[in-house]
Amino acid sequence: MPTAISHAQLPGDLVALAQGGCGVSIASGDDNGAPVVGLGVGCRIMPGSVVRVLLGQAANAAVLLAVELQRPVAVTFTATRDHSSFQVKASHARICPACSDDLPEMDRQSVLFQDGLVEIGYSRVQAAGYCAYDPADLVALELTPERVFTQTPGPGAGAELPR
C-alpha cells in the first residue's frame, strides 16, 4: 500500500521569513548516517509550498552528494533581527540548476540579510563577507516540506506545526 505523505503548507509569516533575507542552514546525512551541514544563500517559496534553496556548489559538496543519494533533508531559516526561526524537513530533495529568476532574488535577499546583520552589530565588511557568493557557482535544491518545526529559542522551540 503506498504511503500517503501529507505536505505541510507554509503559513504566510514563515514564507515571508524565508524570503526576507535570513540565515539558511541545510543538513542531511551521509551513507554512514553521519550528519552533513551546509549554508544556503537564499530561498524562494514556489507554488505548492515547494522550498527552493539556492546554495554554492563548491562549499556544499557533501550536502549535494547526500541529496543525490536521496537522503532526508532539513533546512532551517533564521531571521537576524529577532532570532525567529523555523525548520522544514523532507524525505528527499532534488537538485536543479539555478535559473535567471533566482539571481535578482538572491541579490535582494542578500542585501536584506546584510542589513539585518549590521543592525545587530556586525560590521558591513563582516556582513558582506558572510553573505558573499559566486552567481556562477549557484545551484538550487528543491524540496516539499513534510514537517515544519518552530525553532525560535524559548519554551516552544522544536514544536511541530500542524499539517
Binding site: 540565515g23 542552514s25 541545510i26 543538513a27 542531511s28 546525512g29 548516517g33 553521519a34 550528519p35 552533513v36 551541514v37 551546509g38 549554508l39 554554492g56 563548491a58 562549499a59 537522503r71 532526508p72 533533508v73 532539513a74 533546512v75 532551517t76 533564521t78 532570532h83 526561526s85 525548520q87 524537513k89 545587530i120 552589530g121 556586525y122 565588511v125 563582516q126 563577507g129 558572510y130 558573499a132 559566486d134 518545526f149 525553532q151 529559542p153 524559548g154 519554551p155 522551540a157 522544536g158
Partner: protein, 450 residues
C-alpha cells in the same frame, strides 16, 4: 585529524558569528539549528552548550555524532568540524566559563531569560574541513600578545615589593596590552570575599571594595580557579548594586556605611578575570574590562593567564624575601597639635575616622593594634612578621594576605588624606606616621568578646 588544528581556529570559536549544528537521529533524519557557542577545550576537544532537551540533544544521545560549521569573524572563512560526543559536565571551571560567556551572548541578543546552561557537552573533534569560499585577508599589524606578555613579565621582575608589583601589573596592562581598565583583588581572610588592592584607569580607585566568591566574573574565577570572560554586557554578572544583595544572601553583615563602591565601568561590554595562584591556591584575581564588545578572546585569555601566573610567582618570592626582617626600635612622641577621633568596632573590626568609614576586617584590626601600641609606647616602626605572630589579630594559620592588607590600609589612609599614614621602612618593615593626636574609642568594647 587533518592538517587543520583547532588551536588555529579559536577566533571562529568566539561566538561572534553564530555557528550551525547538524545531527541525525537513529533513522538518519537530519536536524539543523543555529547555536550560540562552540567552546574551545583543548587541541582535541570542543564543548557545546546544552541548554534545552531538544531534538539536537536527543539525536546526540542516540548517535553521539554531530557536525558544526563555524565562521572566523575576521576572515569570514567557514570550517566544518566533525564531532564525536564524549561526556557532559554540569559544573566546574569549563562549565562556569561557558555559562558566563552564554550569559553575555544571551544578553546581547535579548534572550537573557531564555538561555540557561544545563551542561557542557564535550566532543572530540574527528576532522576539520575548510569550506571553499571567498576569504578576507586578516589584519597584518595586530600587536603581538607574546611580546606584550614578555615585556610585562620583565617589568614585574623588577618590582621590589608587593605594592609595587600590583600597581605595576595594572599599569603594564595598559602600556603593553592597551587595556585601559584593570584591577587586582586579593582573597581575604574572611571566607568568601575578595577585596580590591590595586586598580588602574577608574575615576576612583575603589581600594577596599569587596566582591563575594561566586559573584560576577571575578568571584566565579576565584571560586573555580579558572579564567572567566564575557564578550557582552550582562546583568547576571554585574557588580555594584548587586553587591549588598549578594552579601546579604551570603549572610554577611555588610551594611551600607561599611561598603566601598566597586570601581568598575558603568557599562562594560567585555570583562575577563584570571585567578592569581600560589601553589595552586587562589590568592587573588587579575581583572580587566573594556567598553568594546568581544575585547578579550582566547589569545588574550592565554596571555593574561601567563601574566597572572607570573604575578603569583613573584608574590611568593617577595614574601620569602621579607620573612626574616626584624623591627628597628624607632619611636616618636605622640604629636602635640591637632586631633582626630578613631573608633574601632570589635564586631567586624571596622574603623571609622572622624565618623567616616575607613576599613574593616583584618586591616582594621591591624590599624587599631598599631595605634594602641603607639599610644602606649610611642613606637612607630613595626614588622609584618610580628603582626603575623600576634594572636589578637586573629589571622588565619597561613596569613598569605597580610602584605596585601597593609597595602589596602596604606592606600585607604592615603585616599583620606588623613593625618595618619603608613610608610614603607624597608623589607617587611613599615612605619606609622601620626601628624596629629589620635583619640581612640572602642564603643563596643564591653559587648563583644574577642
Amino acid at each position: 585529524m587533518t592538517g587543520l588544528r583547532i588551536d588555529g581556529l579559536r577566533r571562529a570559536l568566539e561566538g561572534v558569528m553564530a555557528s550551525v549544528l547538524a545531527t541525525c537521529d537513529a533513522d538518519g533524519i537530519p536536524n539543523v539549528s543555529m547555536i550560540s557557542q562552540v567552546h574551545y577545550v583543548d587541541p582535541e576537544h570542543v564543548a557545546l552548550s546544552y541548554q534545552f532537551f531538544n531534538k539536537t540533544r536527543r539525536n546526540v544521545m542516540a548517535t553521539r555524532r554531530a557536525i558544526v560549521l563555524v565562521t572566523d569573524p575576521e576572515t569570514l572563512e567557514h570550517f566544518r568540524l566533525s564531532l564525536s560526543y564524549e561526556e557532559t559536565q554540569i559544573g566546574g571551571p569549563l562549565f562556569e566559563g561557558m555559562k558566563a560567556k552564554l550569559a553575555g551572548i544571551a544578553s546581547h541578543h535579548g534572550v537573557e531569560d531564555v538561555f540557561r546552561l544545563l551542561g557542557a557537552d564535550i566532543y572530540r573533534v574527528q576532522s576539520i574541513e575548510a569550506v571553499p569560499g571567498p576569504v578576507v585577508l586578516p589584519v597584518a599589524n595586530r600587536p603581538s600578545l607574546l611580546a606584550a606578555t614578555r615585556r610585562t613579565c620583565s617589568a614585574l621582575d623588577g618590582c621590589a615589593d608587593l605594592e609595587e608589583l600590583l600597581d605595576c601589573v595594572t599599569a603594564c596592562l595598559e602600556r603593553d596590552f592597551g587595556i585601559s581598565w584593570s584591577m587586582v583583588l586579593m582573597a581575604g581572610a574572611e571566607a568568601g570575599r575578595l577585596y580590591t588592592v590595586a586598580s588602574h584607569g577608574y575615576p576612583h580607585t575603589g581600594v577596599g571594595a569587596e566582591v563575594a566568591l561566586g559573584e560576577g566574573v571575578i568571584g566565579v574565577a576565584a571560586r573555580e580557579n579558572a579564567p572567566i570572560r564575557i564578550g557582552h554586557m550582562t546583568r547576571e554578572y554585574r557588580y555594584g548594586a548587586a553587591i549588598s544583595d549578594a552579601a546579604r544572601r551570603h549572610g554577611i553583615v555588610c551594611d551600607a556605611p561599611r561598603l566601598i563602591a566597586f570601581p568598575g565601568l558603568e557599562a562594560p561590554r567585555s570583562q575577563i578575570a584570571l585567578p592569581i595562584t600560589e601553589g595552586g591556591v587562589v590568592v587573588g584575581v587579575l581583572f580587566a574590562e573594556d567598553d568594546e564588545i568581544n575585547r578579550f578572546g582566547y589569545e588574550e585569555e592565554d596571555a593574561l593567564a601567563l601574566v597572572a601566573g607570573h604575578v603569583g610567582a613573584r608574590m611568593s618570592l617577595l614574601r620569602q624575601d621579607a620573612a626574616d626582617e626584624v623591627a628597628g626600635d624607632a619611636t616618636a612622641p605622640v604629636a602635640a597639635s591637632g586631633q582626630v577621633t578613631l573608633r574601632y568596632f570589635r564586631l567586624d573590626q571596622s574603623v571609622f575616622l572622624e565618623n567616616e568609614y575607613l576599613i574593616k576586617g583584618v586591616a582594621g584590626a591591624i590599624l587599631w593594634r598599631l595605634l594602641c601600641e603607639h599610644r602606649a609606647t610611642g613606637r612607630t616602626e613595626f614588622t609584618t612578621r610580628e603582626l603575623r605572630l600576634d594572636p589578637a589579630l586573629r589571622l588565619p594559620a597561613h596569613a598569605e594576605n597580610l602584605d596585601a592588607r597593609l597595602i589596602l590600609l596604606r592606600k585607604r589612609l592615603e585616599e583620606r588624606s588623613a593625618c595618619l599614614r603608613i610608610e614603607k621602612a624597608g623589607r617587611g618593615r613599615f612605619r606609622l606616621v601620626a601628624a596629629c593626636r589620635v583619640a581612640l574609642e572602642e564603643p563596643d568594647a564591653g559587648e563583644v568578646a574577642v
